[in-house]
Symmetry: C2
Subunit: 344 residues, 2 copies
DNA sequence: CGTGGATATGGAATCGTTTCCATGGAAACG
DNA sequence: CGTTTCCATGGAAACGATTCCATATCCACG
């Protein structure tokens, strides 16, 4: 690693280090002559300023951190993509971290991002306000929560209002004749897990369907727990005729095991997933989903973070969700269709 | 942003900055007494060392860069995940960049990573050896290519041998009676695009199938071009009865438009995709794929990069690929089944 | 008791920038 | 022509850590 510093540039251009620095940072107090010579020297030497040193002195790093809970979740992959593009347009690089739905990894990454003195952090938080999350507040590091929030922390956020979408889904299933709807919930350690579960409970109560607590399975937002949830729910003495999965990965797990068990989605059992993933529409039957806009969420999050960095205190934003009906839930089912198969 | 520096720690602990630094970096030349006091001061102040300053002085940043061509491509999302986990285990943080299959974004991210003085870079490169890629070499920055390579550059890489998988796929289709196989190729600006196309061409020649150049459509590894490819291929006077897509996203595009056109995959037309994505098995019919191991690729890439950082010069690794037959290609087709529909 | 080696410590230089401050010269003004 | 203003410039001080070097203390040994 051969290191070329601003000293080399200054020497080649025949100016002082200070002047070279000024030219490089666009300071107007430079003559056209020295500007030209510095620029020439820079290209000749293929000089790249050392971002560490620059950040050290100027206390800005022109970078933001994005901490998602699982990169492999298409929702967060899309989010990462839009955040990264929006940040790039504003002149920031995005350092992406992956908490893997685990609190200790979240803390580790937060520590790292804090150490690297990023100018701001966008995080889909996990757990309560303990651990490194608290440091964000005490250090007054510009932070925006995305998709999820943490109770009791006064941090601007952009989230989805699950209520409308989930109510529509439940009403849609009820209208099709379903009375027992199984719910594969997200973890209660996340705000979305709690919100969506609460919305489901309210919707069920509102439509007068079965409130049997056995119809709820608590998963962890990862594929395997979707499979486990289906397995558990179908083993009930009176199994559900419709399923609602609280995120896309658990829906994937659910679909996989339903295939294996030979249950035909949309015929034997209805299925609706939270999160609209491009290829859910390609499944046969196409999957009904509760959709919310990732692009908007990412864009707004970056926007809000820039405001926070500038010292403002933006209002939190709540985006709408809405049901998109496709074939996986469109076939009306008579409440007691077929024998109630037991699985094992 | 309240800044707590090592000076504050030293002052509170009643030792010098040098001693505090020694305790923090695990230097044995410290007394148990000062160790205890420094540690206490650190927790009391919630001190996090400034990574910039540390990196500036010690010329190590304990971070690596990973530049993928598209985060939304599940293959690269998985790769990002495994690389990130492997790097974390080795004590490195991963800065993820997204080139978006665009050369100028690749260059921009490379510049950024170079500026941040990452200890090494793993990149799925795009284009030829021009632009910022060249700087990696001249600056002797530890670099490993993953998935793709760049001709003429002497950089260790871990790639997939497409030959075997593609040959198996073509032979499998030929055995099922297909004589005209359409190929939706990746861009020729990438090594995988070229390699897979060459492998396809050789396999076709080897099995004596139609070498009609019209049967090849050149896409760009993104979903839309998969749709465009299917559209173009089906409009031929003698359309193919089987399709091979060179990556998963183009396969998604292909599936989407085949659905829209009412062509039944696995019955009206066979389809095989390169890259095994978890949910491809969930499609109905399940998608036949050419599979290669992302986990291994990511793990090996990190491993190799650590070796390069340590000054070694590891051999490049080529991983195998293999055909996994599922329903999308299993139905034998008679060469001239049905009327040759035109689409528009 | 004096010398030597080991050990813990603090002072200060250093990394590559940015930025404050002082300076010199040119231009502008009366 | 003298004074003021302005502007480009260079020297040097930061930024927050690591690390070299010198020093002080202590123990052991002859």
């Amino acid at each position: 690693m051969v290191a070329i510093t601003i000293k080399d540039v200054a020497a080649l251009a025949g100016v002082s280090v200070a002047t070279a620095s000024r030219v490089l940072s666009g300071n107007p107090a430079t003559s056209p002559d020295s500007r030209a010579r510095v620029v020439a020297a820079v290209t000749e030497l293929d000089y790249r300023p050392n971002a560490q040193a620059r950040a050290l002195r100027s206390t800005r790093s022109d970078s933001i951190g994005l901490l998602v809970s699982d990169v492999r979740n298409p929702f967060f992959a899309d989010l990462a993509h839009t955040v990264e593009q929006a940040a790039l347009a504003a002149g920031y690089v995005t350092l992406l971290g992956n908490a893997n739905e685990r609190k200790e990894q979240q803390d580790r990454y937060l520590d790292t991002l804090i150490s690297r003195r990023v100018d701001g952090i966008i995080v889909a938080p996990l757990g309560d306000g303990s651990g490194s999350i608290r440091s964000l507040i005490t250090r007054e590091i510009p932070t925006v929560f995305v998709d999820r929030t943490v109770d009791g922390l006064d941090i601007p956020s952009v989230t989805t209002d699950s209520e409308a979408g989930i109510r529509q889904a439940v009403e849609h299933l009820a209208a099709a004749g379903h009375t027992r709807i199984g719910y594969i919930s997200g973890p209660q350690a996340t705000s979305t897990g709690r919100d969506r579960f609460a919305a489901f409970t309210r919707a069920i109560a509102g439509t007068g369907l079965s409130q049997d607590p056995e119809l709820v399975y608590f998963g962890d937002y990862q594929a395997a727990s979707g499979s486990a949830g289906v397995h558990a729910l179908l083993q009930l003495r009176r199994p559900p005729t419709a399923l609602l999965a609280a995120d896309s990965l658990m829906a994937v797990g659910a679909i996989a095991i339903l295939h294996k068990l030979g249950r035909r989605i949309g015929a034997d059992i209805a299925l609706i997933a939270f999160d609209d993933i491009e290829w859910f529409a390609l499944l046969n039957p196409a999957l009904s989903v509760i959709s919310h806009s990732v692009e908007e969420m990412g864009r707004i999050a970056v926007d809000m973070l820039l405001q926070v960095i500038d010292g403002a205190k933006p209002e939190s934003v709540v985006l709408p969700s809405e049901l998109i009906v496709r074939a996986s839930s469109s076939t009306p089912t008579s409440p007691a269709s077929g024998p109630s198969l037991r699985t094992n």
